[in-house]
Symmetry: C2
């Protein structure tokens, strides 16, 4: 994808000034979307063979310690009749309670990674907030457990059932209600697909303040319920700041209408914040008001090599300082990730020579010439100061996409050798990359890592959203080996705990991280969280067995 | 302050192009702070004479419907001895329980507007989180009511007692603990003064993501407890997005330590959000982690006249589009505000001629030349399109400050004629200014407004943070008249309710807005808020008689 001929080399060696390149002026890319990142967070070994299975192992088998809670009622024919009567048409109910319907149920019971598979027998697709309210009220009265489901693109098993929970799929609630073209506030149903909403905004010169790899499938409501981070967080901040209003249905059917479309409203506790990242455990989000920024007319992408992680930190600091308001991404990749991508994809690398670290930066602004000038000056400066060793700047949209594609293909390429232990974590920047080094050293000491077949581990690599202190630690293995897992856990979690890091930066808890939450939250805070859960969902019907 | 000779006129009449001005190139202002705004929100008549009284009327007299709740214990000598023993030195306790100490207690019992005065007899100044915990635990066990107090700069009577609540003043907890110069995360005590924190950041090239008129006195903890909006919200977003971590003490003494310094941490409910805007009713914030952006190297300010509110909306839209990432303020003022400022201050107006509306815009960016070019192009464009009639751009820091000062002096100048009814509200932009027109019409129909002495109302004006849909509606009166109040309320609140606006955009509820919250929040949401209050503060000791 990325070939030398398609890239204009603007930096070649320390001390060589930008001005000496000549003719390297880039045409800014206009109105392209930031590229996507498919970084995943699979905390357990996910082998390639497993990933392509057509039917995942039952979650209840993968987690034998989990048992269906007897406090939940089992679905009866009367229950099903009630829901069919409530929701009307056939397309709103998928009923497998009397057997069969396996193919119809499968996409709702299983996650997209084929890692989690539940045993739900009933899918309900409400068409309105009132439907959701009636469903939850009924389930709460009957003590029927439910799992709210958006686009089912989560990475921690949060959006599929484990046993026979009723699946409440929000895909039918997918209308965009209004958009204020002056203030930028967008009112839409929770079941809207993120890309559809973003496209709607693009036509009006605006952008959704969140972007992520799954945008073509994920629901806006799901991204809010999981407090998704994604690619635009560095620039536009978190959903806690960008969700202006919310309508949600509580487990007892109460509709909490807080659809405020204003940036400022200081009239009481901001309850909607509990539902942002609440992962469907205290209610179902039905509508949202999102504060949307203006779409940038110009996007530029650069890729450069550095000799140490310390230099990468310096580069990040200079980028923040010099690119300021136009910096929209700052990604870190270590050398091994680049070697692996090169080997697997067989394509020429963006830069000649070998550097311990690589960064990809993106700028988005309202004036392409200004942005390019800032970027050029920044690159010249970091080169002169020997912070950066070598670099390229994309010329046009095609090259920008190619550079992003190179960055994004890391995840896929690392998995080619067998399997990968993946951790999606946040660590204060100063120590962020040390986790990779320490894990590598630990694998070395245990004799688990090496170039030859007898070593289960082939590589320990790190990459991620440096701008958000968000690291993807990947341990690539040739085969599953209990010794690797023992060496990794709880070591990795304890390491993160010591640095006040987060064991789940952006993917949430779901089922996968439920038992590790104490590494990022103390007992008091977990206790307070459980108090909230009990307050809103005393019968525990919402998304059971998961979260905290 | 603002004289013609000090302003470079870059726009003079519709159709006259920027390019024709020549030599009007401005020297960008480097590293100046955005100017302050002293906009207040006093919901009741505040006459000038009242404002300068040395001792305000007791709140219990102003609000005769309020009675001290008998469920709260009264302070005993044993209680005072306990606190003195706990906090040690004299400077940590102000004891007026045995009479006297009036002068010492006064600044803690009374707000800065001299509008609210409580009857507290004991001020405690904890020096540590552990102190706060011990104090609250003791008070909760004894059912002693407390009022948490920061810089006491609030506008709604939230930070002073009403009866004999113990004042817990946070001024001794004022340390900055750490700052990460790469990520920009700042860890500090709640009692730090905002300006001190901002100055600390300025020395490191960073900026506090919040600015407001009271910055020289207000505590960071107080701004978070009241979810202050201020001047940088348009650019940096709300505190819900910028507070990364928090330590708070609950009424029973439990310390909730959630001092995460990371931008991404998806491990459970984001409980700290309840304390942002919780106005000290469910706990006391003791420490904070704030995400701080890079400080802008260049700031530019422009002021222009427009022929209608519709044109002001168009100008705002174009500013967002063309200035995009560098737009940091967009303020609206109607013509009457400008006439009043001119009359009271006796200074020349920034623009000749009369225009129905005026806007002040500020840009902040990393490159002064780029910013000025964007601003110049924007102004040329809105002039060519006849969106803007006339305008000036500040040349240098002095002129920028003068323009801000002109904008800020509105509040003070309006009060010169007697008194002012002030409302600080949010309304969707399309209808925002209609509130001013409708109130003016209503006053006219009732025969209450006019140029002569027999009319109690001299002017109905509107101005505010247009970029945040935040209007300051001011009704200037010659004297207090019950008919004016009857014509205003509940009319104004009902008007806002119909537009899904907010009756308190940024100043919170406190005592002043407590009884109006139902105009901006429905019964269900208020019920859910009360549930939270009861959960955290079952004895109701925290900041009683206020909020919801």
């Amino acid at each position: 994808m990325v070939t030398r001929s398609r890239l204009v080399r603007v930096l070649q060696s320390p001390g060589r000034r930008m001005g000496a390149i000549g003719g390297a002026r880039l045409v800014p890319c206009h109105a392209i979307s930031p590229a996507r990142c498919f970084a995943t967070s699979v905390p357990r070994l996910l082998s390639q063979s497993q990933a392509v299975q057509h039917l995942a192992r039952l979650t209840s088998e993968t987690y034998p310690g989990l048992a269906r809670d007897a406090k939940y009622a089992s679905l009866t024919a009367d229950d099903v009749a009630y829901f069919k009567n409530l929701l009307g048409g056939e397309q709103a109910v998928i009923d497998g309670t009397t057997g069969g319907a396996e193919d119809d149920l499968k996409p709702f019971n299983e996650d997209w990674m084929h890692k989690y598979r539940g045993q739900g027998r009933l899918v309900l697709k409400p068409g309105s907030t009132e439907d959701v309210s009636q469903i939850l009220k009924y389930c709460n009265d009957r003590k029927l457990a439910v799992v709210p489901q958006g686009g089912n693109t989560g990475l921690v098993g949060g959006s599929v059932p484990i046993f026979d929970e009723i699946i409440i799929n929000m895909s039918r609630m997918n209308q965009i209600h209004s958009f204020d073209e002056v203030s930028g506030s967008l009112v839409l149903d929770a079941g809207c697909i993120l890309e559809v909403a973003d496209q709607y905004l693009a036509e009006r010169g605006y952008i959704f303040p969140l972007d992520l790899g799954a945008k073509g499938s994920c629901h806006v409501g799901g991204t809010v319920a999981t407090n998704a981070g994604g690619l635009r967080l560095l620039r536009y901040g978190s959903l806690h700041g960008n969700v202006l209003g919310m309508e949600a249905v509580l487990p007892d059917g109460t509709v909490m209408n807080d659809l405020c479309a204003l940036r400022k409203n200081n009239t009481g506790y901001d309850l909607k914040q509990l539902f942002i990242g609440g992962e469907g455990t205290i209610g179902i989000i039905t509508k949202l008001v999102i504060q949307c920024p203006q779409r940038s007319a110009a996007v530029n992408v650069a890729y450069f090599g550095l000799e140490s992680y310390e230099k990468a930190q310096l580069a990040f600091r200079e980028a923040k300082k010099q690119l300021g308001e136009i910096l929209s991404a700052f990604e870190l990749m270590d050398s091994r990730t680049q070697q692996i991508v090169h080997k697997i994809k067989g394509e020429e690398r963006p830069l000649e020579g070998e550097h311990p670290f690589y960064c990809l930066i993106e700028t988005s602004g309202s004036n392409g010439d200004h942005d390019y000038e800032k970027l050029e000056k920044f690159l010249e400066d970091v080169l002169t100061k020997e912070i950066v060793v070598d670099g390229v700047v994309a010329q046009g949209e095609g090259q920008a996409k190619a550079l992003w594609s190179w960055r994004e293909s890391i995840t896929e390429c690392i998995g080619h050798g067998g399997g990968v232990y993946k951790y999606d974590v946040s660590i204060p920047l100063a120590e962020m990359y040390s986790l990779v080094e320490d894990v590598k050293a630990r694998m070395g000491e245990a004799g688990l890592i090496g170039e030859t077949e007898e070593h289960p581990v082939s590589a320990v690599v790190g990459y991620g959203h440096m701008g958000d202190s968000n690291l993807h630690l990947n341990v690539a293995v040739r085969r599953y080996d209990a010794k690797v897992e023992e060496a990794l856990e709880p070591f990795v979690y304890e390491w993160i705990e010591k640095r006040n890091g987060s064991i789940s930066a952006e993917h949430g808890l779901g089922l996968a991280k439920k038992k590790y939450v104490q590494y990022s939250r103390n007992e008091t805070v977990i206790g307070l969280m459980k108090q909230i859960k009990k307050l809103y969902d005393p019968n525990g019907i919402m998304n059971p067995y998961k979260y905290i």
